[in-house]
Amino acid sequence: MKRDRRLRRLIPLYIASALLLFWALAPIYWVAVSSISNRIELYARPYKIWFPSEPTLEHYVTLFTTGAAYRDGGFSPTAGLIGAGLRNSIIISVASAAIVTVVSTGAGYVFARLRFRFKQTAFYFLMLLMPLPVWVALIALFFLLTNLNLIDTLHGLIMLFVVFMLPLSVWLMSTFIRDIPEEIEDAALVDGCTRWQLLPRIVFPLARPGMIAVFLVALLTSWNNFLLPLIFSRTSASQPMTVVLTLFIGQYEVAWEDMSAAAVLTMLPPFLMALFFQRYLVRGLTAGAVK
């Protein structure tokens, strides 16, 4: 009897879970399957096999070697684009996330712990930028960076990502640090530790979960971003994966199976982050909304 009741409670829950997972995962599954299918099976009408009879990784190889296939056949001159795109994406996102994490931990500590004049002003000065539509700065920023010769450079993009991600990161770090008990720092200060020694020796280790969260959020944000490189990149010297993908869709009309492989490569790093560090990532992404 008891098992019966348990089952009657669980069955609807599992049906609901299946529906929810289907909605969330089916589109991803389809692209993953497309990327390992051969053209004949994938372009069958009606399509009804849902898994290739002979899964292949050739489309991934194609992306790096001959260049992706056109929709009408033949290969497009895109062989170098994917390699460069991945390299640029990695450099831009790792560098800007690392810089923003260190800088915002220092600033977050200052806002969380110290009292000083103009504190509220300084805080508002940074936080006002958070809901600001980027376009307000973007137009003049384009001309500014052109004059500084920073268009189409990796360091230019890294600088932009750092500055655009700063407000959120500083705010996140200040809330995380506020949640750390102050006693240890007080004891260290009494023992003659300076603030400068305090930061690397005591604050960084205690704030590590917060720093990881900020780093992951920054990594995800910069990896996924498209608008900034769309405007500030010109060539494969700085174009990240998101921009390369749009070239595949528009300019080169790349075949669906190769396009899918490129899309999978672009989604993979965020997925791995979500699967392995979900706790930190979700904490960082929802801080402020979830207490």
Binding site: L20, P27, W30, R45, R115, A122, F125, I139, A140, A289
Partner: protein, 303 residues
């Protein structure tokens, strides 16, 4: 604290904050002000003429321009379709994940994956899924006998914006879901027990206890999602914009951000584009201010 200690703290604060503030001032505030002055000029890179100060002409042009109102209306329409869709799915997901059952952790981990998908990929993903020639959506419906012929789902201008809403919902519903889930976990169990004793059924408990107590969570989720949808760009770019090849931007899914891109980087009407970006700023300011106040209260508060 000694006077000396205070002085040292000042140097500490200045060294950590001043570089950031200068950096932000040069790269965001200065360009923002510069954009505003530009918005008062007729700067246009397509026409070779000296740039002149035209006061508020760009603003009055936009405010009396049909396309501007059409695009603005479409942006708000998109918000009005997307937010309810997101909230319904998010509430369903949150209610589910609030129950205890074996495997809940796995469901929770997997269900947020769409949230991680880069918006550009998201647009491509659904474009391919809904493709009229070989898309899986057609394949699925055909297999279940729901359609007898493949449909070009994204072809109809009238329904394109609905698909944008669906696709945006797909990628964003996790955020409100987690916010609502946290809200649900904060509701005391004895409230439900008491309602059960009084004979309230499941639906009444949802309507009378759960939803009212979730209102603050809904408010937070709606503000954040409003900003996300209002500033939508990448998804439309790859799903329906048609502008990724450098061609004209599809007018039927042109929202404010795309319109702004088109004015500045395609038409090279810098002055007018700058004015539009300020009009967009004003529209999102009200919602934005609520957001910042909330952040301040949590990040600095009574110190």
């Amino acid at each position: 604290m000694t006077r000396d200690g205070l002085h040292r703290d000042h140097i500490f604060v200045l060294t950590l904050l001043v570089p950031i503030i200068i950096f932000v001032a040069i790269l965001i505030y200065y360009p923002a002000i510069d954009t505003f002055t530009t918005s008062l000029t007729n700067r246009n890179l397509r026409i070779n003429r000296p740039t002149e100060f035209v006061q508020l002409e760009n603003y009055s042009y936009l405010l009396t321009n049909n396309e501007f109102w059409e695009v603005t209306g479409r942006s708000f329409l998109l918000v009005l379709i997307t937010l309810p869709l997101e909230m319904i799915i998010a509430l369903g997901g949150a209610l589910l994940l609030n129950e205890r059952f074996p495997g809940r952790g796995v469901v929770r981990t997997l269900v947020i994956l769409p949230w991680m998908v880069p918006p550009v990929v998201n647009g491509f993903l659904w474009g391919w899924l809904l493709n009229g020639e070989y898309g899986a959506f057609n394949g699925l419906l055909y297999q279940f006998g729901l359609i007898h012929e493949y449909q070009y789902w994204l072809q109809n201008p009238g329904t394109q914006i609905l698909w944008v809403a669906v696709v945006q919902t797909w990628t964003r519903f996790s955020f409100p879901m987690i916010v609502l889930l946290a809200g649900l976990q904060g509701i005391q169990d004895d409230l439900y027990e008491a309602a059960k004793v009084d004979g309230a059924n499941g639906l009444q408990r949802l309507w009378r206890i759960t939803l009212p107590l979730l209102l603050p969570s809904f408010a937070v989720a709606l503000v954040v999602e409003f900003i996300a949808v209002f500033q939508i760009f990448d998804v439309i770019w790859t799903l329906t914009a048609g502008g990724s090849a450098g061609g004209a931007i599809n007018p039927f899914t042109k929202t404010l951000m795309l319109f702004n891109y088109e004015l500045v980087f395609r038409d090279l009407r810098i002055g007018r584009g700058a004015a539009l970006s300020y009009l967009i700023l004003i529209m999102s300011l009200a919602v934005g201010l609520v957001f910042v106040r909330r952040l301040y209260n949590q990040g600095v508060q009574d110190t």
